[in-house]
Amino acid sequence: MKYLKYVGALLFAFIVYTFLYLPILVTILFSFNESKVQVLPIKKLTFDWYRGLFSNTELWVAAKNSLLVSLPATLCAIVFGTLAAYLFQRYRIRGGSFLQFLILLPYILPGIIIGTSLNLLFKFLQVDASLMTVIIGHITFITPVVMFLVMDRLKRFDRNLEFASMDLGASPMRTFLLITLPNIRSAVLAGALLGLTISFDEVIVSFFLIGTDNTLPMLIWSMIRHGYSPQINAVYTLIVLFSLGLIAIAGSRLFAQRNSKAITEE
């Protein structure tokens, strides 16, 4: 009976994980398929779609644009997110939980609301859509990610170290830089990697804020609308592998520190 239950649980988990990863696996599989239609059985394998990527300048420009958006957006989000986390975790502020909720909103709400509202603000201010407006859109949803990862770390960090530093005469700024920051470093880094990944993949908010320069997901969105191309599979296979790598690093960072802390506590 117990054995049956165990097999049932394994089977259930297997089905769910397959369901979650089926679209990604199919994408990877068909990126090596020579045929232009996505049908089984695969007759011949090829690297042609990957080779084609090198000569597709449009893709490279779009990838560059994506970095031009993701890097500055993540940088701003790290500064604001860490600042907000420190403020909310270390001081009592009237209306603090409401402010926190407002910062969290762009993460909870669907991108279409962030996209349309910023789009209308820029129309009102008569700011032309460009990569700059996309950056602003991306800052809104990366900041809460960084904020909550850092807050969580600050919560578990021994505040007496900060008090000791200030008792010994260090200014709050010096204390933050020399004591607090090194201790929350891995959370900030994990937030940055996650922020980069999310931003690099983002298409819904960008859709409403983009000008004439395409980001990579926006270019792929327009490619998809024009029909099927195995090249899309090849691009996305590369993006997925890259993103999974970043997430693995971010995850191992978070877990490594957590586990080492658990050991010292025991």
Binding site: I108, L120, L121, V145, I247
Partner: protein, 280 residues
């Protein structure tokens, strides 16, 4: 104290620039109107009265609520046992399985929708598999471009969102509570229903809310796999900013979505815990 005020000012500016001003602009536009492709800059409630009188908008809103509810219920029903399963593993395996559910949250949103389109399509993965194994004689076209294709695709996107809060709620339940239940003679299933399940409820509510909100606001999934019958509320907003060029109407539609979802969040925040998603 000087530092605190400076930080507070910077954070307030952030909130003003990124939240308050955009929403204000949206509110303002929603009270304007359009005449002869020109925006009329005078106050009118005509967008709202149009939305609440024309059955097209309300029926689409209702349909979107139903679809998002279906996705959220299914997502919770799948995520809960999955969270129990992952929580029962130990060591590295647990970490890998946990990150394995999380990773799709941040990877290839667009390509996963696109991939479902080719998986479900007439000349797609599933059809060719069914024909190859002899289950079907002819590829079927009934898998794609309808509401069930939308639900399947959204479910694939929503499960990680639902999983995280449920998992973190279950993981936080102290093991000695279960030990105590067992010592007092409770069977495994009794301990689950009287200890684990009630304590995990806030996580379930939050997860449910996340799945509902993401699905409710999604317009890319319906436009890629929904066909004409799978259109949702978000598509209507997108159209106003694209082909129709009716920004004021789009603003009003978006405003209604915002208010509705804020009500959903307010209702679930009483029982759930939104912040739990960021704590492992």
């Amino acid at each position: 104290m000087y530092g605190k005020n400076l930080m507070l000012i910077m954070i307030s500016i952030w909130v003003l620039l990124f939240i308050v001003l955009p929403v204000s602009a949206m509110l303002l536009f929603s009270f304007w109107s359009i005449d002869n492709f020109q925006i009329v800059h005078s106050f009118s409630i005509q967008n709202y009265s149009k939305i609440f009188q024309d059955p097209i908008y309300l029926s689409l809103l209702w349909k979107t609520i139903k679809l998002a509810l279906i996705v959220a219920v299914l997502s919770a029903l799948i995520s809960y046992p999955l969270a129990l399963f992952v929580n029962h593993r130990r060591g590295t395996m647990k970490t890998i399985l946990f990150l394995g559910v999380l990773a799709p949250l941040w990877v290839g949103y667009l390509v996963r929708i696109y991939s479902w389109r080719s998986i479900l399509g007439e000349s797609g993965f599933i059809n060719s598999l069914l024909v190859l194994t002899g289950i079907l004689k002819q590829p079927s076209s009934s898998l794609l471009f309808n509401s069930s294709a939308v639900v399947i695709t959204m479910l694939c996107i929503a499960i990680p969102f639902t999983f995280i809060p449920i998992y973190s709620a279950i993981e936080k339940i102290p093991g000695n509570l279960l030990q105590a239940a067992a010592d007092l003679g409770a069977s495994g299933s009794r301990a689950f229903w009287t200890v684990v399940f009630p304590l995990s409820m806030p996580g379930v509510v939050t997860g449910f809310m996340f799945a509902f909100i993401t699905s409710f606001g999604d317009y890319m999934t319906p436009s890629l796999v929904g066909g004409t019958s799978g259109i949702m509320y978000g598509n209507m907003i997108q159209t106003q900013f694209g082909n129709s060029y009716n920004w004021p109407l789009g603003a009003a539609l978006s405003m209604i979505m915002l208010l509705f979802l804020l009500a959903v969040i307010a209702a679930t925040r009483r029982i759930g815990n939104v912040q739990a998603i960021f704590e492992e």
